[in-house]
């Protein structure tokens, strides 16, 4: 069984990855400020204000989220995480993505060897349906298939 959602491919790409899901805003700096360094080599999420994802691993995952929040280092931190191979494979939003998330994905698409695919506008139901650990398949045209 699977369910298909159609969104807008802001940074298009093909991704097959496991879902990690937050229903609260993803604070990029709080989560990833030391990711990729000796202090957090594996890319563990560190925002203690967000118990839903605190302590989980992000590298290569399909990050499903309502928006990113907090510091305007956000896009830059995503770019660094991508360059250091500890970034998510893609970011998937039910609504239009925010400026910092888009900035991060656009920076990786233009300046990194490991672009973060970004699809938004997947619809309210997307974030209600998707669960942590489900396999996600993203196509270039913004189609997202969630496996049960």
């Amino acid at each position: 069984m699977s369910r298909t959602f159609k969104g807008r491919a802001v940074v298009p790409g093909k991704v097959d990855a496991e879902a990690i899901v937050t229903h609260a805003g993803f604070n990029t700096l709080a989560n990833l400020k030391t990711a990729g360094s000796f202090m957090n080599p594996k890319g563990v999420l560190k925002d203690h204000n967000n118990p839903e994802i605190y302590g989980k691993l992000i590298p290569g995952k399909a990050l499903c989220l309502p928006e990113t929040i907090g510091s305007t280092t956000g896009g830059m931190v995503l770019y660094c995480a991508s360059c250091m191979k500890v970034g998510p494979a893609c970011m998937l939003f039910p609504h239009k993505a925010d400026t910092l998330a888009v900035a991060g994905a656009v920076l990786t698409a233009n300046w990194s060897d490991y672009p973060i695919v970004l699809v938004d506008d997947l619809g309210e139901e997307f974030l209600e349906y998707v669960k942590e650990g489900q396999m996600i398949h993203v196509s270039e045209d913004g189609t997202v298939v969630v496996e049960d």
Binding site: V10, V11, G25, N27, L29, A30, K33, T34, A35, G36, S37, F38, M39, H48, N49, E67, T68, I69, G70, S71, T72, T73, G74, G75, M76, V77, Y79, C80, C83, M84, K96, A97, D98, T99, L100, V102, A103, G104, V106, L107, A109, N110, W111, S112
Partner: protein, 425 residues
Amino acid sequence: MILNDELLSIQRGDQGEAMQKVLNTLIMYGEAFGAERMVKITGEMGHAVIGTGSLTWKPVFDLMEKLIDGGALPKQSFTTDPRGIEDHVPTTLAQKAVFKLIFSNQKRMEKEWERMGIKDKNAYTCTAYMNEVGNIPKKGDILGWAESSAVSYANSVIGARCNRNSGILELMSNILGYVPEFGLLTDEGRKADWIIEVKCSSLPEPQLLGSAIGFKCVEDVPYIKGLDKWLGTELDQKVKDYLKDMGAASASNGSVGLYHVENITPEAVELGEKLIKPEARVFVVDDAEIERVQASYPIVWEDLNARPDIAFAGCPHFSKRQLAEWTDRLTEALERNNNQKVTVPTIFCAAPDVRAEFEKDHPDKAQKLKEIGVTVSGLCPLSYTSNPLTDKSNIITCSNKLRYYSRARFYSEKELVEILTGGEL
């Protein structure tokens, strides 16, 4: 996106590959938000969010080097966020050694900023809009700034127009001299989605009110009613300081990039309730809501009864007026509590230029701070906690931004003053 002749020439590669790539990055960013054109930056100076030569930000410094080598340099001078540590801040030998390692790109970064035309060596602060620093946009200016608290201040208190740009993109915007037109740059994007009715029994502390607004509005624009009852209608330094701290909390605990305050902020004075969208929702902030918000903060200390190791105030950086006010508050409370010195090593953070002017204008107060054990520093307390050794220490603060990004324990300003001076909570 429709480009003018200058930008079309850049797109063809007439100014080199680096400039071409910078333009294409900003086009891709703008088109994601439906921008149909680029508009010229009109602010005299830029502001960047990159002030710490962090180990984890090496890819940023590599990219900056590529831009410099490719001849892609900012069109204007700029300021940037604070450094991570300063020599006179008390640290242990072990902490110092780790700082050296985790900020090992500091010299490289500062050299790159010099090559890009940073204002001067004192330009490292999150409050570059202070008079003493002098990066003060005009109302209506188009900016390509980053730093969430500075963007919030420039939009709301000054009435300039700036989106919540990310680090690196703010640099690229200033290299190009243009930003894509969307969001907070447009009249429609500056209209309020929320009416915040402040119905507290007294003026709420700005960091707590800002946090409540950030949690509720996330990235929407609020129109705040009721603050003029306590703040009056004149946008003097005291009011600006209040709004600076409130805005920083709503920008870090949520993503608020612009707020209007009835009868106080320039656009609210000019346009009043015309700024409110017809479908705006109402959120009431009363004493109970402020208490609920403060009680919701997680405390992540291993030992909840542990003695604090260090205290920080001034995040975002204090103004000169705040440095003087906090000196008086601590002095008065120490006398009241029969103590000579603060009970916890304390750091007040302020821009290097603000600190210098404070020492010049208030030598007695600057001396007093030294005597009672308070260090005034231009560092960024958030970056200070990037060090795993300092992050493990028990930090207390009245900054909601620092609380959010670290293990620091939040206390209201009143509570913090009592703790620091040996009083009872």
